[in-house]
């Protein structure tokens, strides 16, 4: 069975022929589009390492069939920086030491970008921890992660206000 789908991945249109409907968005990105920044941790929706944005919303790429997402706009960790300039969330993770081994970091950053875009947590540390609970960090860098999201929220919140003004 050949199934054709079209996706926009990090701003680039991709036409893809799937030879098997079992391919998840995660496996499509990693194994077929060579975008290995999105990590495979548990592959069962429990760890959040595979978090990507699909049509602007953060989801677990491991629990999404690619064939069901024909036409979707996908943003992965490879697509968030502006050339040499890191995304404010990336910069904040470095500034606040929001990782140790780094395996969960792409998922953490994509989840934080999604969280800030959702706009429900603000810079309230309790709401940020709750909003980030779908991303596990085995190194336990949670304190730095929370601070990084708080700082990025302030920067992105200000940027938005300036643009609106």
């Amino acid at each position: 069975m050949n199934l054709s789908i079209g996706l926009t991945v990090n701003g680039e249109r991709r036409d893809i022929v799937l030879d098997d409907p079992r391919v998840t968005l995660l496996d499509l990105l990693r194994e077929r589009l060579e975008l290995t920044g999105t990590k495979k941790g548990c592959d069962r929706g429990q760890c959040g390492a595979c978090t990507i944005l699909v049509d602007g919303k953060r989801i677990n790429a491991c629990l999404a069939l690619a064939v069901s997402h024909d036409g979707a706009d996908i943003l992965t960790i490879e697509g968030v920086a502006n050339g040499e300039h890191l995304h404010p969330v990336q910069a904040a993770f470095i500034a606040h030491d929001g990782f140790q081994c780094g395996f969960c970091t792409p998922g953490q950053i994509m989840s934080a970008i999604g969280l800030i875009a959702e706009g429900h947590a603000g810079d309230d540390s309790e709401r940020i921890r709750e909003g980030m609970s779908g991303n596990l960090c085995r190194c336990g860098a949670y304190a730095g992660i929370t601070e990084a999201v708080q700082e990025a929220q302030k920067i992105l919140g200000n940027t938005r206000t300036e643009r609106a003004a």
Partner: protein, 351 residues
């Protein structure tokens, strides 16, 4: 994961026809189904994708005061719909207490209703499980069962239904709209899920091909908006299934309870409407005496199915806490930790 044929339905009728075949299953976002397929717990030969069906992603206020929620509305979209959260705060809080933000973004209304139990023996294909393999036995019965059912269970199955969303839906008389091979029909949410009896593999009132197209909340559901609450005890304070949960809604007039709604989650194979508790509350003064009587009545028939006798008292205490919170009045904003009994007006406590 087994091989399967993929069918993208464009109309409900086409979906019903395609899913009526033996071995077929509906695919919405797949957050539960793909997990089950990866574990070899379910092996559908055909997936019928219903995410593109027209008109199922709407939230509509109907002329009779009821609200119709399309089956493909996302869990997060529904919880964050400002009008919805204001009118049905306990339902919004229940939704936000379930799973993680990523899963809530993907998961749909009907998918939430039809999610399968998280009993570890159902998930472990090396274990005996009457639900997964009818007639094979139940390894949960003599196994690690401290989180299993205390109401409505049978010797064949002691699993619980894991949904948070369904608990206040049961309390507030939600109705499920279904398209099937014989046309359109409706089933009370309370009657959608079945108790195990000696056929735990028969989990719902749905027939082959039946497609949930909407969930409807009657006009009465919003009369509890000022006094309602959903509380959930978990083994960690976020991203965990309920050990026990409770939904409570009250209509209070001059300190007297005019109407009451109580339902429990995590205690049975279905969301558990506690009508005996409601009867104790209605006509009583809104206070500890009535709340305590209600909690006793709700668990009167409960019995442990294993190492879980503690859940009976826990459920009673949680009902009292939910009723106290509901009587005090619905808070303006959903707490930082939705449904957590460890939240306080001074702020949530991460434990």
């Amino acid at each position: 994961m087994n091989r399967f044929d993929y069918v993208r339905a464009t109309t409900a009728a086409e979906a019903v026809a395609a899913a009526s075949a033996p071995g077929a299953a509906y695919l919405a976002s797949g957050t539960n189904l793909l997990d089950l397929m990866k574990g070899g717990i379910v092996r559908p030969s055909r997936l019928v994708d219903v995410t593109r069906l027209p008109g199922l992603d709407r939230i509509e206020a109907l002329a009779d005061g009821s609200l119709r929620i399309g089956a493909m509305v996302g869990n997060a979209d529904l919880a964050h719909d400002a009008e919805f959260a204001k009118a049905y705060p306990a339902i919004a809080e229940a939704l936000l207490s379930g799973a993680s933000a990523q899963l809530r973004n993907a998961a749909t209304v009907s998918g939430n209703l039809l999610q399968r139990t998280r009993c570890g023996y159902f998930y472990d294909t090396a274990s005996r499980c009457n639900k997964r393999a009818p007639g094979s036995g139940c390894d949960a019965r003599g196994g690690d069962n401290r989180l299993h059912a205390i109401l409505g269970w049978s010797e064949a199955c002691i699993a619980t239904h894991p949904s948070d969303f369904c608990v206040p839906l049961a309390a507030f008389d939600a109705v499920v709209e279904i398209e099937g091979r014989n046309g359109h029909r409706e089933v009370a949410l309370e009657a959608l899920h079945r108790l195990p009896g000696d056929m735990p593999e028969q989990e719902s009132a749905l027939e082959p091909g039946d497609l949930i197209v909407a969930v409807r909340l009657p006009a009465s559901a919003r009369t509890f908006a000022a006094h309602s609450r959903y509380l959930k005890v978990r083994e960690r304070n976020s991203y965990a299934f309920a050990v026990v949960s409770a939904a409570a809604g009250l209509v209070i007039d001059s300190g007297m309870i005019k109407q009451a709604r109580v339902a429990l989650g995590g205690v049975a194979a279905k969301p558990w409407r506690a009508r005996a508790a409601e009867a104790q509350l209605e006509g009583s003064a809104a206070g500890p005496a009535a709340f305590s009587r209600a909690a006793q009545a709700a668990l009167a028939e409960a019995k442990p199915s294993g190492d879980n006798a503690f859940k009976i008292e826990l459920a009673q205490r949680l009902i009292v806490r939910a009723l106290v919170s509901a009587a005090q009045g619905t808070s303006e904003r959903i707490p930082a930790l939705p449904a957590s009994p460890f939240s306080s007006p001074a702020g949530a406590l991460h434990v």
